[in-house]
């Protein structure tokens, strides 16, 4: 060879192992990963900027197109942030129905992840099996919301559509079907030697690193950190469900929380079936009443949202982790004054740095897939110097410097 190790290895932005455009620069020694540099930004669409050109009702539809997989979660958290800013209290039945759709989305997202993980391991039978199973939950979502992927179900003050007894009956049949499949699915993923050999002790994220790198979602719960917004900061109907449900960690099924990919498989599968039980719980305990506290949309828009002044922050546990939206509304201004989205993948990508250490080339796809990355959510902004066209990094020192300068500017 002409060159001595270490060797660079580029993966992305378009690569068969990646479903979305992002770029990895690996430094390799033979088959072993020494270091990795992640270069996101290929999927930037300027969503936050677009939000500042549209009124909140229009942004609802933009919010769910932040990401097609967790579209419901983004719409939910945006609704809650605007409700916080404009002092709107959602109706009780609306709150319960919101949780129903959020949990249905978790079922579809975790099944999707299980299939993709199987595909990345070269186990395509699993991809086809889980996606076949997933079509049933897509059917429920379509029956309840009217669309398979972008549901448009949430609105300020509640939800758009009520569930009818026939829909509930159909949904219950499918839940029963899923509960029958529970043992089969757990058996496939947890006892099959092909899967366990590939995922045990691979891509380890230790508890210390999970806390240090502010990871969120099933990734941290796999490492044994009990971090779940649904339980630590209850919203919707989760407050009423605290007695019946607990935060899921690998210990829920008697496994040790080692933080490897196997732990994440356990967490996601247990959460999947917990989500089915949560849906059934919501249908059992659904209170009567109006589905929304703001039935008149033009009054809501012209009177409440236009006259609202203030900031709103909300958090929701999306299937991938904690999703935070920040919204600022100004009086007599239709458009959002400011909108900031912090998606779960943004908190999780830093974990890749430690998970890739000493991994093999063949494990790269499954480690990438293991955190369930959603680059479409994540690519918010890259700083580019418009004069030279050069990108620049902003580190802690620069940020601190900027902050100090700004404080000085404010002081007389």
């Amino acid at each position: 060879m002409a060159h001595a190790p270490p060797y660079p290895l580029m993966i992305g932005p378009i690569h068969p192992a990646l479903k979305e455009p992002t770029m990895f620069k690996f430094t390799m020694e033979g088959e072993r990963v020494l270091d990795v540099d992640i270069q996101p930004g290929f999927n930037h669409r300027g969503v936050e900027y677009l939000g500042m050109k549209r009124n909140p009702l229009q942004v609802l539809h933009l919010a769910e197109r932040v990401c097609g997989i967790c579209s419901g979660a983004h719409q939910y958290v945006f609704c809650r942030a605007v409700e916080h800013a404009a002092n709107i209290t959602p109706s009780v039945r609306g709150d319960y129905l919101r949780v129903l759709v959020a949990e249905l989305e978790r079922i579809h997202s975790h099944l999707l992840w299980a299939g993709v993980a199987g595909h990345e391991l070269g186990f395509d039978s699993i991809l086809h099996y889980t996606w076949k199973v997933r079509e049933d939950v897509q059917d429920i979502l379509e029956i309840i919301c009217g669309n398979r992927v972008n549901y448009s179900y949430y609105i300020f003050g509640g939800v758009r559509r009520d569930v009818t007894p026939e829909q509930v009956e159909k949904a219950r049949k499918i839940f029963a079907k899923y509960r029958k499949l529970e043992d089969t699915i757990l058996d496939i993923f947890l006892t099959d030697p092909t899967i366990s050999h590939r995922v045990q002790d691979v891509g380890v994220l230790t508890k210390e690193n999970a806390l240090k790198l502010s990871a969120c979602g099933p990734l941290t719960r796999g490492a044994g950190v009990k971090k779940d917004v649904r339980f630590s900061w209850p919203y919707g109907s989760y407050g009423d469900m605290m007695d019946d449900f607990k935060v899921v960690t690998p210990e829920s099924l008697g496994y040790k929380a080692t933080g490897d990919i196997f732990s994440q498989v356990v967490v996601r599968l247990v959460e999947l079936f917990e989500a089915i039980r949560m849906c059934e719980w919501v249908l059992d305990n659904l209170p009567s009443g109006p589905i929304t506290s703001e039935p008149n949309l033009s009054a809501l828009l012209m009177a409440k949202l236009r006259m609202a002044e203030g900031e709103g922050v909300a958090r929701v546990e999306a299937p991938r982790g904690e999703d935070i939206h920040y919204v600022r509304l100004k009086k007599n201004k239709m458009e959002l004054d400011s909108w900031k989205i912090r998606v779960p993948t943004y908190g999780n990508i830093m974990s890749w740095l430690t998970m890739f250490k000493d991994a093999q080339i063949a494990d790269i796809p499954i480690i990438i897939a293991s955190i369930d990355p959603c680059i479409g959510c994540m690519d918010r902004v890259t700083l580019v110097d418009s004069g030279t066209g050069r990108e620049r990094d902003v580190d802690w020192a620069v940020l601190h410097d900027l902050s100090v300068k700004r404080s000085r500017g404010l002081m007389p």
Partner: protein, 150 residues
């Protein structure tokens, strides 16, 4: 669909995510998996544009991806067709007035290749049934092209 003399191979598709929101992408995978199962027609997702007959393009084209998408289009051997999944490819969808969007894919690719065959599959996101129909439409157009070439 009438199979003409030129029909001699199944279609292989390459999926290009040109800054999509993932909605169409998961529906493409849904179309490939058992409920809709386009693989039974020999339609297969391949790992490189050099093996592909059809490019499945999702999303609007943003500045970062524009050059990459153009190169992928040029690497695909002809005769080829582009299947635009979703509204974004035709109109840039909800992102139409964003600062980082190069424009809808059809306008963008017409600048690269004025004779590009483009099949539109609208929807936000597209339904798997619509993708299947779009592939059949692309198939017909490619058959005509191949017939002329022979």
């Amino acid at each position: 669909m009438k199979l003409n003399k030129a029909f001699d191979k199944s279609l292989w598709v390459f999926h290009v995510n040109a800054a999509s929101c993932n909605g169409c992408d998961i529906e493409i995978v849904a179309a490939l998996t058992p409920r809709y199962d386009v693989e039974r027609f020999g339609i297969k997702l391949v790992g490189t544009p050099r093996h592909a007959d059809v490019l499945l393009v999702t999303g609007p084209v943003n500045r970062q991806m524009a050059d990459r998408v153009r190169r992928i289009y040029e690497q695909t051997p002809g005769p080829k067709a582009v299947l635009l999944c979703g509204n974004c490819g035709a109109t840039s969808g909800v992102y139409y007035d964003s600062y980082c969007i190069e424009g809808p894919f059809d306008e963008f690719i017409k600048k690269v290749d004025p004779n590009a065959i483009i099949v539109y599959v609208p929807g936000c996101p597209v339904r798997p049934e619509a993708i299947t129909m779009g592939v059949v439409e692309a198939w017909k157009q490619l058959e005509v092209l191949r017939g002329e070439a022979k």
